[in-house]
């Protein structure tokens, strides 16, 4: 019949097309989604360093990194979920639930409703807290996967549910640092690294970032997380069990939230149900500024670390420059919108 195998299809002729410098920039940013946030972070550091030399003092930098630890760790969980085109509004509530459970299990208090089983070995309490957060993540995943409910609605609901459960089970009582065994506050342990002062929590956060960056890049599960967020129908037709991948993401996110709970106790020095109620939105801010797309399938977990650092650097820099808090919030808000705008532009890249 026809002449064999002479298809002249070749990408090269297509790729020989000259790109303008702007297009080339767009193309590079598209390929490395965290690159724009790295540029922003460096710019922020240079600008604020020029404005106020105290910004670059090791003590300031140390504080900035330490302040990033709660939002940073939670942002790992949020990144995983946003990569699947989901969102988790309950992230702060689950973390608080986990830390209150840890604290109340470890400390014998008269106020709590879990009194009969309180006073546990602190390590058991910590593990129970992480397991509780994992279970909470699994509840989110189950509702989303089994009943096909939108993640926004499910986690909007569980946000309230876990907040309520925390108050019901553990009352509104803050468990103060001195009441708790040292193991509970382990993550707040400070130690010097060169001129800087870091905490164990910071180290764990960095390790978690490295771990998940590796997993997302080097395992089939990681590829599937991206594929499911990118185009769930295509992923399914390619033979990926999309429901299992989605559920596992919420479950794993729960584990990270549990670890974040322990880190938070160390950072704050006490276990309080009144930790920042905006944590969920702060993690979304970090993820978005870090270059991960809210539409799923694009981004990198390292970007979220940069995103969290950017937010803290801008806050710190503006406050050192004597800018009022109202203006600082405004600035962060504009940064988020700018980040999403840049993301939309980068996504339009075409060959």
């Amino acid at each position: 019949m026809s002449a064999p195998a002479t298809s002249d299809y070749n990408l090269d002729e297509e790729f020989a097309i000259k790109r303008s410098p702007i297009q080339r920039l767009q193309f590079t940013l598209h390929r490395y989604p965290w690159l724009s946030s790295l540029i922003v972070l460096l710019t922020v550091i240079v600008i604020f360093g020029l404005i106020n030399e105290r910004f670059l003092l090791p003590s300031t930098v140390s504080l900035m990194i330490q302040q990033t630890v709660i939002v940073g760790t939670l942002a790992i969980a949020q990144t995983l979920i946003i990569l699947t085109a989901g969102i988790d509004l309950s992230i702060g509530a689950i973390m608080i639930f986990g830390q209150m459970l840890m604290a109340n299990f470890a400390v014998y208090t008269t106020a709590s409703n879990v009194l009969p089983i309180a006073g546990q070995n602190p390590w058991i309490a910590i593990i129970l807290g992480i397991l509780a957060a994992t279970a909470a993540g699994a509840v989110n995943g189950f509702l989303i996967v089994r009943f096909n409910l939108p993640p926004f609605i499910v986690t909007l609901g569980t946000w309230s549910v876990f907040m309520g459960l925390t108050l019901i089970l553990f009352k509104a009582r803050t468990i103060q640092g001195p009441e708790m065994p040292e193991e509970m506050k382990l993550m707040g342990t400070r130690f010097p690294v060169g001129p800087f002062n870091l905490t164990l929590g910071v180290v764990v956060m960095f390790l978690l970032f490295l771990l998940f960056a590796w997993i997302l890049k080097n395992t089939a599960w990681g590829t599937h997380v991206y594929a499911v967020g990118d185009d769930p129908v295509a992923a399914q037709l390619s033979g990926i069990n999309t429901k299992r991948v989605l559920f596992s993401v919420y479950l794993v996110a729960g584990v990270v939230m549990g670890i974040a709970a322990w880190i938070t106790i160390g950072r704050v020095g006490s276990a309080s149900p009144n930790v920042d109620p905006m944590l969920n939105l702060q993690t979304i801010t970090a993820v978005v500024i870090g270059g991960t797309s809210l539409f799923g399938g694009r981004g990198a977990v390292i970007g979220s670390l940069l995103g969290a650092l950017i937010v803290n650097a801008v806050e710190m820099g503006l406050s050192l420059a004597g800018v009022d808090q109202a203006y600082r919030i405004t600035a962060i808000g504009m940064l988020v919108i700018l980040a999403v705008g840049i993301d939309q532009w980068i996504r339009k890249v075409k060959a």
Partner: protein, 271 residues
Amino acid sequence: MSAPTSTEPIVKGRGLVKRFGSVTGLNHADFDLFPGEVLAVIGDNGAGKSTLIKCFAGAHTPDEGEMWVQGEKVSFKSTHEARDHGVETVFQTLAVAPALDISANLYLGREIRKPGILGKVFRQLDKKRMKREAGEHLQDLGIMTVQNLSQAVETLSGGQRQAVSVARAAAFGSQVIILDEPTAALGVRESAKVLNLIQDLRDRGLSVILISHNMPQVFEVADRVHVQRLGHRSAVITPKTHSMNDAVAIMTGALNIPENEQTLTPVNAPA
């Protein structure tokens, strides 16, 4: 029902029925694909072309009827099962993850892990091997050069994406490739390349099912043409025995071809 054949069909369906609520997608449809041929499936909108091939692709499970692949009776519950029987499908939507690169897309859902502890315990992917083999598959098909394999699929043109999907379908020792409207979204130049690719696949001994609306393309590449109408097989003709006008007339019901004038047996000996 079917005339006696010299070769057994590689894919066979008898009396396939698929209902979607009150709508009947397939109404006792028969189907035969012979080894090494390009069989085009044409039909009006709603004639059940897509439903028919989705049964063989594993995306639908028929309510009634029987299917055979390579002589073995099958019942697919997922695209995975169809693949395991050597049936690969390039869906109209291409089923690619646009943000992932070419090599990740080629291996999507069947990634290769590293040997030893790294792969078994840490479940690390063998990216180098996947990239190398993806490059080999693509070059083998004469589609593209190796250096672009870490390119995200969304940065490719429509024809290139189609080529990646076809390469994926052809790469894994499959026997049958189903192509659903592969040229629908393409320009003339890119369509020609994809048609070339289809002929390449046949020349390699693969059997191809081609769903298309484009009559000239169908008559250019197909060995036989299965005309689907009202949910069943209305006739099977060849570009040699019948004209495009005949095909359209059968599609619309204006023409009925008696079974002895149809081509229910293979037209060319398999390679």
